[in-house]
Amino acid sequence: MNVRLRLFAVMRTTLGRSHVELELPDGATVAQLRSKLAEDYPALSPLLPTCLFAINGNYARDEQTIPSDSEVACIPPVSGG
């Protein structure tokens, strides 16, 4: 499946893009997404260990599977307030 991943903050400015498209096996997990992202975009790799991911606006654990057609986002350490 094709996943459109939203990027924010340092991830967005590092790549100069607000989203990337990733090709993943159907039923892939967040962990697989994380690996694929590091592989396809090595510039993001050092930032990934502190990033979380969200599926359809909810934080998702690494073992969670990604439903097709979901909105997936990479969430670097937040700094609101």
């Binding site: 939203r6 924010f8 903050a9 340092v10 967005r12 400015t13 502190t50 969200a54 606006g57 909810n58 986002a73 969430i75 670097p76 350490p77 937040v78 700094s79 609101g80 307030g81």
Partner: protein
């Protein structure tokens, strides 16, 4: 009341939103852009957010506060975009019958906001440089 806004925050209006006949205490927290960058002075902070998720997380915080401290009302307004030094970045108002709950719920809300809500700030210094900030270690936090 939950609001993410590009406009300056009207603190009086935020307080107004938590006024209740049963409220005896109101506690307000304001985050303000400090002028002390590490090397040069801070000229502004620039906030970006993942809007749908940030709004949803703020709504969750509001409901969770209402379950933990029954009877409290809260309002949270966060500024987005470029916020110059001296201006307010976030306002949290909490009203309660008694002050214990108003202080506790208010403090809990800002602490949770700073770790859970997908909002990010970039610091623009007066020397023209910029950097993304993440939450400083416990005890250092603003």
């Amino acid at each position: 009341m939950i609001e993410l806004t590009e406009q300056p925050i009207d603190v009086g209006r935020v307080i107004q939103r938590v006024c209740r006949p049963t409220a005896g205490a109101v506690v307000v927290f304001l985050g303000v852009v400090r002028e002390d960058g590490q090397t040069a002075k801070t000229a502004a902070l620039e906030y970006e957010c993942y809007r749908q998720m940030a709004e949803a997380e703020l709504e969750k915080l509001q409901s969770e506060a209402a379950s933990r401290w029954p009877g409290v009302s809260c309002a949270i307004v966060h500024r987005l975009g470029r916020v110059p030094a001296g201006e307010t970045t976030v306002a949290i108002a909490v009203s309660a019958a008694h002050r214990d709950d108003a202080y506790s719920a208010n403090r809990w809300l800002i602490d949770q906001l700073k770790v859970r809500v997908p909002i990010w700030k970039q610091e623009h210094l007066t020397d023209g440089t910029s950097r993304w900030l993440s939450q400083p270690p416990e005890g250092e936090s603003r």
